[in-house]
Symmetry: C2
Subunit: 357 residues, 2 copies
């Protein structure tokens, strides 16, 4: 049966980096004689320009009928006006919600050739290899009411809402991930203040009975923000609610020396997932061939692993990316260590990865 991947290039460098990732995927499918079709759809600012909405209905329908979605990036100064009622980010929030992608996996791993570029001293970063599992469709970013109040709009509320079921499913995902890794789970909350965090902690403790081999600990979000810096090597899998995960995963993303290297996966219970690089749309360098395609390519590797059961091929891509760096190839955003470093553009970098595959 033909598998379908929907590609949502989005804005800025999105089209360039998804273009690279699709080339890599095509090479893999060719080699393995897989029957996969790619369909491209609009999202974000690009969709606002053509359709007046950041998430056109046929984009949602196409994604819903696909095995996996590969996204570039959304947003840019063109659509940044505060007063605009439609904003590119709504496309991103909307597609996550529409597909029910409740678990956002954000791996943080040090690439040896890039460690020197980290703001942190090498000894803090060397052994870093953890994954943040962020709840993605609940909490403060989706709760209602979210509105102005009072006769003159002088009050405002947002709502952090969770059901036990919403917490349970993402915590379960995190436990399963920890089982396949170093069997260590850190749950982050603010249970000394928030009622929702106390429920979160209870659910984590309950789910832990089903996974006795995983060692669980709880960390307050403010302590977690410190620990990520003073001892990032202690973590294996971190699970936390939407907003805490947003903040902590971005904090963690700068540790490894380049944001341009980080993939992400947004998953649900079945195999359908959305894959996107962690970096933004970088409008300042869009269309110039300067973009680093490696995060998108690594996101494509995640797509193979989580949506198409091609763990082996995912591993090949990851190894190829590491080799390219080891050989000194880098885009402008990366500082690789080594005697002979070679600055390449988006296409050349992609060629290098494909050549190794």
């Amino acid at each position: 049966m033909t598998k379908t991947i929907t590609v949502l290039p989005g804005d800025g460098i999105g089209p360039e980096v998804t273009g690279s990732a699709v080339r890599v995927l095509k090479r893999v499918f060719e080699k393995n004689a897989c029957d996969v079709q790619f369909v491209e759809k609009r999202i974000g600012g690009a969709a606002i320009d053509t359709d007046g909405t950041p998430l056109p209905r046929d984009t949602v329908e196409q994604c819903a009928a696909s095995d996996a979605v590969l996204l570039g990036a959304v947003g840019g100064p063109k659509w940044d006006n505060q007063s605009m009622r439609v904003r590119p980010e709504q496309g991103l929030l909307g597609i996550r919600k529409a597909l029910g992608l409740f678990a956002n996996l954000r791996p943080v791993k040090a690439f040896a050739p890039l460690i020197g570029a980290s703001p942190l001293k090498s000894q803090y970063v060397e052994n870093v290899d953890f994954v943040i599992v962020r709840e993605l469709t609940g909490g403060l970013y989706f709760g209602k009411p979210s509105e102005r109040r009072g006769d003159h709009g002088e009050k405002v509320v947002d709502t952090l809402a969770y059901s036990v079921g919403e917490i349970e499913r993402v915590v379960e995902k995190a436990f399963r991930l920890a089982e396949r890794r170093k069997k260590k789970l850190t749950s982050v909350d603010k249970a000394n203040v928030l009622e929702s965090s106390r429920v979160w902690r209870e659910v984590v403790n309950e789910v832990s009975h089903r996974h006795p081999e995983v060692a669980v600990s709880h960390l307050l979000v403010d302590s977690a923000a410190m620990q990520l810096i003073v001892n990032p090597g202690q973590f294996d899998v971190i699970v936390t609610e939407n907003m805490f995960g947003d903040i902590l995963s971005d904090e963690a993303s700068v540790m490894t020396g380049s944001l341009g290297m980080l993939p992400s996966a947004s998953l649900r219970k079945d195999k359908v997932g959305l894959y996107e690089p962690v970096h933004g749309s970088a409008p300042d360098i869009a269309g110039q061939g300067k973009a680093n395609p490696l995060a998108a390519i690594l996101s494509a590797a995640f797509l193979l692993r989580y949506s198409l059961d091609m763990d082996h091929e995912a591993g090949f891509i990851e190894k190829a990316v590491l080799q390219v760096l080891e050989r000194g190839y880098h885009t402008a955003d990366l500082k690789v260590a080594g005697e002979q470093t070679k600055l390449v553009n988006t296409t050349e970098m992609t060629d290098r990865v494909i050549a190794i595959l």
Copy 2:
């Protein structure tokens, strides 16, 4: 007229470090022939043990009748049981709220002799000197409803609530602080998702008209979490809502090489304020004379500056603390640079500071 300072030693190392800070203050008042009385009251776990509540009524009354409050730290494993209905932290949240201390100032400044101990490379930390102004009595940590719902408690909500007035007063404080510093204000929010953040941003832009000489910029909280690490030197004053401030100020606190050095001030419109070290109650070293008193001593300097108009004397204390470090004196938690470093205990460290004064 006699001024009154209420001392709330609290738990763990709280009594030791407030003891040191009071000694330093007494020295300053003696030298300047100031008429100041100290009154000690209970808070946190210590108050739970004796009064059954983390914030006895006479503590609130005494604080309310004082010119300033000096707090040690609250909490410890003894009171950490999840199922307990009274928790030490409630004392802290309660006293802030009772006194209406809406602006929490958290300075982050590199001490030259300690820079080597930072997890960040020296070049990232050298010029760091900023203040985070955290809103302290509103937002998600105080909003109602904050409760379980549903027939079986299967849902839970917390509420992030602000009024325009609550936002305005803390933003105004931050602008005034920026005016006395490098005239640069960074407001942190999540305006691409939260309604409360959009109101926050509007208020910041309005208040900025009253302070045309201050350069204002807006940063999303996830970007802020990154920027604090990749370019902390860019900041002067950061203003943000309660929870974002909680997370970001703790993230920022580990940058300078020791948490044991950081003071904080919680202020309102008049001169009354509450001053406390940023570090916790460190129950593992409590009562052993190992605690670093410098954060509490620097909090006392803040007390002089903000509550007693003794800016000059505050500056003397800050210089004395720096000199003590430069001479190589350190408590066990500090790694000072230099040929001759001398490990001292809490009392000796305090003696050193007083000797210089």
